[in-house]
């Protein structure tokens, strides 16, 4: 597909650019992807920064990870020592490892905000359902990658976290135990497990890159949603991505890097668990096995399900935990409202905050021992988590009276201008 209408002025007049562009339209393609030829709603607020920040996180993880692998040894008797070798003897090894370990947390912070942005402004609704699906797949891949990465240092929480999570599959009837043994590559979490997790931890980020390319492709089909949640009506509603959103994203990157650097340099172990500085020991179980913080809400759901009729608590918990993510795939149809943005949905707007508090409650519960008040909080939040999606969203969509939508994205701005 020769690019016959490639521009010839300005940047494109440069003979080198011209030579390359004629043979490989890389400049114009980029320009259409994230440049001046990509029209973007002019009213995006800073919540729209988190997509590009998530991309940045993945790049940081891949780059630091590739270098860490040069010094890491995936073997049960050497992994822990090789991580300490990185921390003590490799030039800036401590920096690489702290960037990578905290980078995982940053990635999840950014992606959780990105998802909540989508929930609040209805970014999952028609015609962006597949964009949303790809996002959920990205979340699942991130979770798998993060979980397997946490196993690699082969500390106590690595080992016991891997044991607990892989054991979940034994809840499945009939095929449960064979699946667990197949995952382990033996009859316990051991060297084969570590090796396959290492292999997959290296592979999955590149799968993520592929899915993210599809995610961006789907995004470009209709462009970004926006805080008003209404469609772009014409060129007066948009501005070119570059330079407007490249610079706005850069501002976000600056603040994000400050936040990230605070953890790397001043609190590098704050988000980790002390037990992971103890080498893995299959004979000593930590008092409280907790996953990384970003899994705590799901961990709470897992532990909150009691025996229900003939379904054992363990199987119920596993189904609920995976269901908590699977339900996101149904979201575009569970939300019956035609209005996208919560700004024009007075009831749903309040409920999104209730939902956020529910998620935080689940996170709190998941980090505490499964007893007493935290367990009760976990159970209440688990019930509401599913009620929110399965009952509240469909009903609110039917009964709620949305406020009047603006006629176009530029209308409120123009009105404000006229009033001045």
């Amino acid at each position: 597909m020769a690019n016959n209408n490639a521009p010839t002025s300005g940047f494109y007049a440069n003979p080198v650019v011209k030579w390359i562009e004629y043979r490989l339209p890389v400049f114009s393609t980029l320009d259409h992807m994230v440049g001046s030829k990509y029209p973007t709603p002019k009213n995006l607020n800073y919540w729209w920064n988190f997509g590009s920040l998530a991309g940045l996180c993945l790049v940081v993880q891949i780059l630091t990870g590739i270098v860490l692998v040069m010094h890491y040894t995936p073997h049960t008797s050497l992994a822990f020592d090789s991580v300490e070798h990185i921390m003590r003897d490799v030039n800036y090894g401590w920096l690489l490892r702290y960037m990578h370990a905290n980078g995982a947390s940053m990635f999840f912070i950014v992606v959780y905000i990105h998802i909540f942005r989508g929930l609040y402004f209805g970014s999952y609704k028609s015609p962006r359902e597949l964009l949303w699906f790809l996002g959920v797949i990205i979340l699942l891949l991130m979770m798998a990658t993060g979980f397997m990465g946490y196993v690699l240092p082969w500390g106590q929480m690595s080992f016991w976290g891997a044991t607990v999570i892989t054991n979940l599959f034994s809840a499945l009837p009939v095929v449960g135990d064979p699946i667990v043994h197949w995952l382990w590559g033996g009859f316990a979490v051991d060297n084969p497990t570590l090796n396959r997790f290492f292999s997959l931890h290296y592979l999955l980020p590149f799968v993520l890159v592929g899915v993210i390319i599809l995610h961006v492709l789907a995004l470009h089909q209709f462009g970004s949603n926006n805080p008003q949640g209404i469609d772009v009506k014409g060129p007066q509603d948009t501005i070119p991505f570059h330079p407007y959103y490249t610079i706005k994203d850069a501002v976000g990157v600056g603040f994000f890097l400050l936040f990230f650097s605070f953890f790397i340099f001043y609190a590098p172990n704050f988000l980790g668990h002390p037990d992971n500085y103890i080498p893995a020991n299959p004979l000593v179980t930590p008092a409280h096995i907790v996953p990384e913080w970003y899994f705590l809400p799901f961990y709470a759901i897992l532990r909150s399900v009691p025996d229900i009729w003939f379904i054992e608590a363990k199987l119920g918990g596993v189904l609920a935990m995976f269901g908590a993510i699977a339900i996101l795939f149904l979201l575009p149809w569970l939300d019956t409202s035609k209005v996208r943005s919560a700004r024009f949905r007075p009831i749903y707007k309040q409920l999104t905050w209730v939902f956020l508090i529910t998620c935080i409650g689940l996170g709190y519960s998941g980090g505490m021992p499964a007893e007493g008040l935290p367990l009760i909080i976990g159970k209440i939040c688990t019930v509401y988590y599913f009620l929110h999606f399965l009952v509240v969203m469909p009903l609110v969509g039917w009964f709620e009276k949305p406020t009047k939508l603006p006629a176009s994205i530029s209308e409120p701005v123009l009105k404000a201008q006229a009033a001045e």
Partner: protein, 265 residues
């Protein structure tokens, strides 16, 4: 207990049984009922904190003369004692210090292991040849490797200073102390296998500091923090530069953004 997972529960029970059977009181048992350690105002706290060289040197002395009788530190080499951001021994001091230890090397060309004086690149020699030997010499309890202990416990150095210092008290009336165990109010479960390690004037500090139990506990805890995080000073120093750079960069981005968006309505 139904809310838990059956295999996990049985694994936990098994592990707990193993731990009890070995007479070892690890963190696996009853964590959470220990007193919180009082916060110490360490010289290395805060974004500009650095280690106190004299404190680390004293701490090393306590480790060497007291702790090292039972505890290994396999990730720390003699040469590290001269690294920047550490106790600040000179290269010559480290060489002399390492030579006072006997290290097993080999095999030589005859296939024999042999002893030689320590060299700066040697890791701290372990007091026992293996874990079984360590347990056999310590009533079944395994003296942990201390290389990372300050990062492997909640509250790190605060906890260590409290545990080694004021932690060893008389058990409250009616407290059933296990055989061969010692009461420590900061230890999870309150029963620790390690006997009270520090007593007044146990070491004679070269710099004339009075070797009270609190002083030695403080010094050795600082030393253990350095051993666990030897790049702490380098990290905080680089952090400051990075933060300043990022503040300027972000400021420039904000100014550029304002300018570029000036005409957008």
């Amino acid at each position: 207990m139904r809310k838990d997972f059956a295999p996990m529960t049985s694994l936990k029970l098994l592990a707990a049984a193993v731990v009890v059977a070995l007479g070892l009181n690890g963190p696996a048992l009853a964590a959470g009922d220990a007193d919180p350690a009082p916060a110490v105002n360490w010289s290395f706290n805060g974004p500009f904190g650095t280690f106190d060289r004299a404190e680390l040197q004293r701490g090393y002395q306590v480790y060497k003369e007291v702790c090292a009788a039972c505890h290994a530190m396999k990730f720390v080499a003699f040469r590290n004692l001269a690294d920047p951001g550490g106790p600040g021994f000179s290269a010559a001091e480290v060489k002399a210090l390492a030579a006072t230890f006997e290290v097993t090397d080999g095999p030589n060309d005859d296939g024999e292991m042999f002893k030689r004086p320590g060299l700066p690149q040697d890791k701290f020699p372990s007091p026992f040849p293996n874990q079984k030997a360590a347990r056999a010499a310590n009533g079944g309890a395994y003296p942990l490797d201390l290389s990372l202990i300050a990062k492997a416990r909640p509250q790190g150095p605060d906890y260590l200073a409290a545990l080694l210092g004021a932690g060893y008290t008389q058990p409250p009336a009616g407290f059933a102390l296990g055989e061969g165990l010692h009461y420590n109010k900061y230890f999870p479960g309150h029963q620790i296998a390690m006997p009270k390690p520090l007593n007044p004037d146990q070491v004679t500090y070269a710099d004339g500091t009075k070797a009270t139990v609190e002083q030695m506990a403080h010094d050795v805890s600082a030393f253990l923090m350095w051993a666990a995080e030897p790049k702490l000073e380098e990290r905080k120093r680089l952090g400051l530069k990075v933060m300043i750079f990022l503040v300027v960069l972000t400021g420039l981005f904000m100014a550029a953004k304002k300018r570029i968006w000036k005409d957008v309505h």
